[in-house]
């Protein structure tokens, strides 16, 4: 296919500048050998210093241990509840990112707390077991068990069960998409929406965008192979991969909660994310798709100050506003 030979789309100027400035600290390609180092963090790669999750007392913060999947260990849920809000609360159930191999339930929590303050939400973020130590279906089943518990304890947590949303970015976006599929197929919790932020959906790792962006930007094809290989082993890219591991494998995307999907035009996941939205529409479903020109993977997290990052975050707020307040 000639299109796969085409040069990749240019990065947005501000994102390009940021990438230029920290190029030595952000390897495009992550290999399995680098997983332990990535988990340690260090230097500028370290996650931001532990933020004050209470935000000066505007949230109560609790880590609660709840039952895991059948026969598996308990799981831990980070639960942040707004203290000052009156009226009906909703809930965002968050699955963190990290390529299935790194991160914890604090990763990416900042934007969830922003939404919670804006829309009156309880934030629940699940600590799922990571690959490769825990291959599929362990991670997604941990997430699902936490979701079932969260839905069953709506009264306890103080939110309206009709206002429960799943959300995640990157691998967490793939997990959130899988939760929507699992809930539908198992008659599980009813979801108001699914917020899929540049989700990691397709283990086949062979779209034109994956090929175009190899060796460039953030989380390239090699990194993606590292993540899927950790989760699925030799089965990655093969004929027998469950849609609950890689939602792009799902043949039926009907009867799902409304989806918000975004991606950068200059990232590995661009084509699988666009395809997922297209597939939802073709199945008669509701999806909103944003492709941010020149965005690399995780651009708004890495460069939140860039104009395009501000716009991307604003677009998510607009969708949430319609979801909760329409």
């Amino acid at each position: 296919m000639t299109t796969t030979q085409a040069p990749p789309p240019p990065f947005d100027p501000e994102l390009a500048a940021a990438l230029n400035a920290v190029a030595d600290q952000i390897p495009s390609s992550v290999t399995p050998e680098q997983i332990p180092l990535m988990r340690q963090g260090g230097g500028a790669l370290a996650q931001l210093a532990a933020p004050d999750l209470t935000r000066d007392g505007r949230f109560t913060v609790e880590d609660r241990t709840v039952p895991g999947p059948d026969g598996a260990p308990d799981i831990s849920l980070l639960i942040c509840r707004p203290t000052g809000t009156t009226g009906t609360l909703g809930c965002v159930y968050h699955t963190h990112g990290g390529g299935m191999i790194v991160g914890d339930n604090r990763s990416g929590i900042g934007e969830m707390l922003d939404w919670a303050e804006r829309f009156g939400l309880v934030v629940v973020s699940v600590e799922y077991r990571l690959a490769p130590e825990t291959p599929h279906p362990g991670p997604v089943e941990d997430c699902y068990a936490g979701l079932v518990w969260t839905a069953a304890h709506a009264t306890d947590l103080g939110y309206d069960p009709d206002r429960l949303l799943v959300a995640g970015a990157s691998a967490g976006g793939g997990l959130a998409a899988a939760l929507a599929l699992l809930s539908r197929d198992r008659g599980g919790p009813s979801l108001l929406g699914q917020m899929l932020i540049y989700p990691m959906l397709d283990d086949r790792n062979n779209t034109p965008s994956a090929i175009q962006m190899a060796g460039r930007g953030v989380w390239d094809r090699t990194s993606n192979q590292t993540g899927w290989g950790a989760l699925l082993g030799d089965a990655a890219g093969g004929p027998d991969v469950s849609p609950y591991a890689a939602p792009a494998r799902a043949t039926d995307l009907s009867n799902l909660p409304p989806a918000y999907i975004d991606a950068g035009s200059a990232e590995t996941f661009r084509d699988e994310d666009v395809a997922y939205a297209t597939h939802i529409w073709q199945s008669g479903g509701r999806a909103e798709l944003h492709v941010w020109p020149g965005g690399f993977h995780g651009f708004d997290l890495m460069v939140p100050t860039a104009a395009i990052s501000q716009d991307a975050r604003e677009a998510r707020l607009h969708w949430l506003n319609r979801l909760f307040n329409a």
Binding site: E14, A17, N20, A23, G99, S223, G298
Partner: protein
């Protein structure tokens, strides 16, 4: 890889930080970024509000450290770190001690901004500025045309503006120059700028080159002239006998004019000597000599006033 969040604002103080600043602005230019991106880069990297002003091209951009554009709420503080290149000035709104990368941010951002401005807006200032200013200071011009000119010049109708006149031209709302003569009119509603212009022209006549043969202030504000402004109506100041006396005395003693200016604008002979950088006793000798040449005392209050008036009239004569 989303967990590899790097906050550029958290650049540390090591030498690598400066290199990252360079790489950042190089990346912006290479990617064809616009002005706002450059100012945003400065604000984010310096971690304080940054503003870019190009009076000649009427470009004003201000961005907060979280990347959000925000119009300037206040006039620029001269103490803020800043750097100018051509007509472009970039300022970091920081009043405390300088940040570790301020100097590098200013240098690279100004250079980048200038590159973009020269590329997109041409090297020359906006073409018809002079014509617009002339319209604005012409009392005979129709009010609506003058308001339109004000808008084109970026002057809000409800904010007072002032005229600054220099020998080379008329300017509106510009900072006083660091060198060269300038007269400043009072701040007035834009429709009253013709009056501010007349006042600024009058103030300019009271300025001096600041040299030995033309001592005095290079910049004069009309508002500070007070009753002295009435002297501007004297028809032929050069014909006033005291002015002629000054000229004769100055021809005999080259130090005379500067000495008179110093003695009549300081509170003591000692302070005047310091200003002139001469010994106290030298100045006393000069004063006696000057009084002899002029024929009047320059130290008693009346003589001091007489000398000041003569010096002022001499400037008016030199700046018709």
């Amino acid at each position: 890889m989303r967990d590899l969040a790097v906050r550029l604002a958290a650049l540390d103080e090591d030498a690598g930080a400066a290199l990252r600043v360079i790489a950042y602005f190089d990346g912006l230019i290479e990617a064809g970024a616009g002005l706002q991106s450059i100012v945003r880069g400065a604000a984010v990297l310096a971690d304080c509000p940054a503003r870019l002003d190009d009076e000649a091209r009427r470009v004003h951009i201000r961005v907060l450290p979280d990347g959000v554009p925000s119009p300037a709420p206040l006039a620029a503080d001269k103490a803020w770190p800043h750097l100018a290149a051509g007509s472009v000035t970039l300022r970091l709104e920081r009043s405390g001690p300088p940040g570790p990368v301020d100097a590098m941010v200013l240098e690279r951002a100004v250079s980048a901004a200038r590159t973009v401005l020269d590329r997109t807006r041409g090297r020359a200032p906006a073409a018809d500025t002079t014509a617009l200013v002339e319209l604005l200071i012409d009392a005979a011009g129709p009010a609506d045309a003058r308001l339109l000119a004000a808008r084109h010049l970026g002057l809000p109708a409800d904010t007072p503006a002032y005229v600054l006149v220099r020998p080379e031209g008329v300017f509106i709302n510009v900072d006083e120059p660091t060198s060269g003569r300038a007269g400043i009119g009072p701040a007035v509603p834009v429709l009253e700028l013709p009056a501010s212009h007349l006042a600024a022209r009058t103030a300019l006549r009271f300025t001096a080159a600041g040299t030995e043969e033309d001592p005095g202030p290079q910049v004069v504000s009309y508002a500070e002239l007070g009753a002295l402004a009435a002297l501007a109506t004297v028809p032929d100041p050069g014909a006033v006998p005291d002015v002629q006396a000054l000229e004769h005395a100055a021809a005999a003693a080259p130090w005379l004019l500067q000495t008179l200016h110093a003695v009549t604008t300081t509170t003591s002979l000692r302070a005047a000597a310091t200003t002139l950088r001469v010994h106290h006793s030298t100045l006393q000798d000069r004063v006696i000599h000057a009084e002899h040449l002029l024929g009047w005392s320059i130290r008693d209050p009346h003589g001091c006033l007489r000398t000041q008036l003569a010096l002022a009239l001499r400037r008016l004569h030199r700046n018709p």
